[in-house]
């Protein structure tokens, strides 16, 4: 491991044993906790070859579960992007009673275990509860054990991501341009669209992708609110759990590998976007 750095001359005269030692500790730690487990899933998923992988993923039940995870996460991401941008705008630009409290509530979902989030939603929208039965009988909307419950749970969990990604950039914006535009007669909406929004696009996309990535694999809240109804409310993570429990290793590995690949590409994309924002 340390040989990679050996081509460069050591920066300080004494042999930097401590430096290499500490780097070795860091690499070992990451390898054991992160890289090896990820490699194992890759190896297991490709053990029977790519054809078998594709066959397992395109089984109707697995394919439906993956599609459900993707579209619910997609709907959540659109709502979250709009409401997150709005929340960040209100928090940065306006002062009102309860401002500090509202700002603190944004972080609340990060502190609550997602399983507990699921329990909360079941208590509120469950079919035996007042609100849940009213929605079902009067409006024909099923929330729990149905896709709307999944979207609500994902919205709750990922709410901070867009807000906290957009907020610092909005805070750092120079407001003199907006004042200049207003003096020249631009309306509020034009100012927002032409001056405020462009620098916020990158952080907005980064926050939205992060919430999408987080949502694809969400399990704790989903298993409570969506249950496990194949072809209706069974998401990819819940499907993998079922296959692990019934010892169908091929199916579990195939869907897992697709989920890991999605997570991997999104995380690297977000990382790249973040670096562009910081520069």
């Amino acid at each position: 491991m340390s040989t990679l750095a050996a081509a460069r001359p050591a920066p300080r005269p004494p042999v930097p044993w401590g430096r290499w030692g500490i780097r070795g500790v860091a690499f070992t730690y990451l390898a054991v906790l992160l890289i090896i487990p990820l490699m194992v899933i890759l190896r297991d998923g490709l053990r029977e070859g790519g054809g078998e992988l594709i066959r397992q993923v395109t089984l109707p039940i697995a394919w439906h579960a993956l599609k459900l995870s993707l579209w619910t996460a997609g709907v959540m991401t659109i709502i979250n992007a709009i409401m997150g941008l709005l929340t960040a705008y209100v928090l940065v630009r306006y002062r009102f009673p309860g401002h500090g409290l509202l700002n603190a509530i944004v972080d609340l979902p990060l502190a609550i275990p997602t399983l507990v989030t699921g329990v909360m939603l079941v208590v509120l929208y469950g079919p035996q509860q007042a609100l849940g039965s009213w929605l079902r009988d009067e409006w024909g909307i099923r929330v729990i054990f149905a896709p709307p419950g999944i979207i609500l749970a994902l919205l709750f969990i990922t709410f901070p991501f867009v807000v906290r990604s957009v907020q610092p950039v909005l805070l750092a914006l120079d407001q003199t341009q907006e004042d200049a535009a207003a003096t020249l007669g631009a309306t509020g909406l034009t100012i927002f669209r032409r001056i405020i929004l462009p620098p916020l696009i990158l952080p907005l996309i980064s926050g939205a992708l992060l919430s999408f990535a987080r949502a694809i694999g969400e399990f704790g809240s989903i298993v409570i609110v969506a249950g496990n109804i194949p072809f209706y409310s069974q998401t990819a993570a819940v499907y993998v759990l079922g296959e692990v429990e019934s010892e169908n290793r091929l199916g579990a590995s195939a869907v897992s590998i697709v989920m890991v690949a999605i997570a991997f590409s999104l995380i690297l994309l977000v990382d790249w976007l973040q670096r562009r924002i910081n520069n």
């Binding site: 500790v25 507990v116 993998v240 890991v260």
Partner: protein
């Protein structure tokens, strides 16, 4: 926009009225959204748990298996906390202070546990340590049980909480810079002395905040420990979250709601408390 710096002239009357109303509309929208999305579920859980009074909640939490489950969650989280306090600091240090080949990719990979499904995490560990796992010959020879036992649950929790320490410490280390460390080195301090007396005191708030986030996430971990712990069977691998799931499964709603409320409260107090503490220390 409007209240912070009232513009003396230029703003004509109709524009300011429009501004006042758009301001009210936007604030109202955000407050209603947060109330429906976040506050309503929160309040309904409190209501659901205490619907039949305080007595049943206390009885439900005072069961031996509930207390044992919470105890197990606490000590698993404790082990995870100690390992990440050391390992996370080392990794953050290396990522900020060292330059090496593949650093950007590695830096990006740190966030993977954030996006990988907890079920898949548990499954990865089963593939390594399970009955037919890669390491099973070694484990049988040494007579160590990892899957369906606490070491596996600790590993699963370690994986899902990996980013928090590193992501909290990284920016703080970067902002602190190397000048004071170099000064200490010039005065003859060893690397260890420099870290202990110069760097650590400067990054201590990031350190503590990273620890609280790690702890909060560890307390609430569910999917990964469910898979590696062998499902909901009660007994020696039942943590607080697994208990909540089992209670729901057995339609013991008071038990499930009470335990969920307690677990949520513990994490909430941890995160909000340390956030307030940090803000006060920064203000001083």
């Amino acid at each position: 926009m409007s209240t912070l710096a009232p513009k003396p002239t230029l703003v004509t009357r109709p524009v300011s009225w429009r501004r006042v109303w758009s301001r009210r509309l936007l604030i109202g929208l955000v407050v209603i959204y947060i109330a429906i999305l976040i506050l309503a579920p929160l309040v309904s859980l409190v209501w659901g748990a205490f619907r039949t009074g305080v007595g049943p909640v206390i009885t439900a939490l005072n069961q031996p298996d509930v207390l044992a489950a919470f105890g197990r969650t606490l000590w698993i989280s404790g082990i995870v906390l100690i390992i990440h306090a050391l390992g996370g600091t080392v990794v953050a240090w290396v990522l900020v202070r060292h330059r090496f080949w593949g650093q950007k990719i590695l830096n990006g990979l740190i966030d993977m546990p954030f996006a990988v499904s907890p079920v898949v995490v548990g499954y990865m560990l089963l593939l390594l340590f399970g009955r037919n796992g890669l390491l099973s010959p070694v484990l049988t020879a040494l007579d160590i049980r990892v899957a369906f036992a606490w070491p596996g649950m600790v590993l699963a929790t370690l994986f899902v909480t990996l980013p928090f320490m590193i992501r909290e410490l990284g920016p703080v280390l970067e902002a602190f810079g190397v000048q004071q460390e170099q000064a200490a080195a010039t005065l003859g301090a060893s690397g260890w002395q420099t870290f202990w007396y110069v760097t650590l005191p400067a990054i201590r708030w990031g350190f503590f905040y990273g620890l609280t986030l790690t702890l909060a996430r560890a307390l609430g971990e569910f999917g990964a420990v469910l898979v590696i712990g062998g499902g909901i069977q009660g007994g020696r691998t039942e943590t607080a979250t697994l208990y909540i799931y089992r209670a729901l499964d057995e339609r013991d709603t008071v038990g499930a709601y009470s335990a969920a409320l307690l677990l949520g409260l513990i994490s909430l107090i941890l995160v909000i408390g340390s956030d307030l503490w940090r803000r006060r220390e920064k203000a001083e």
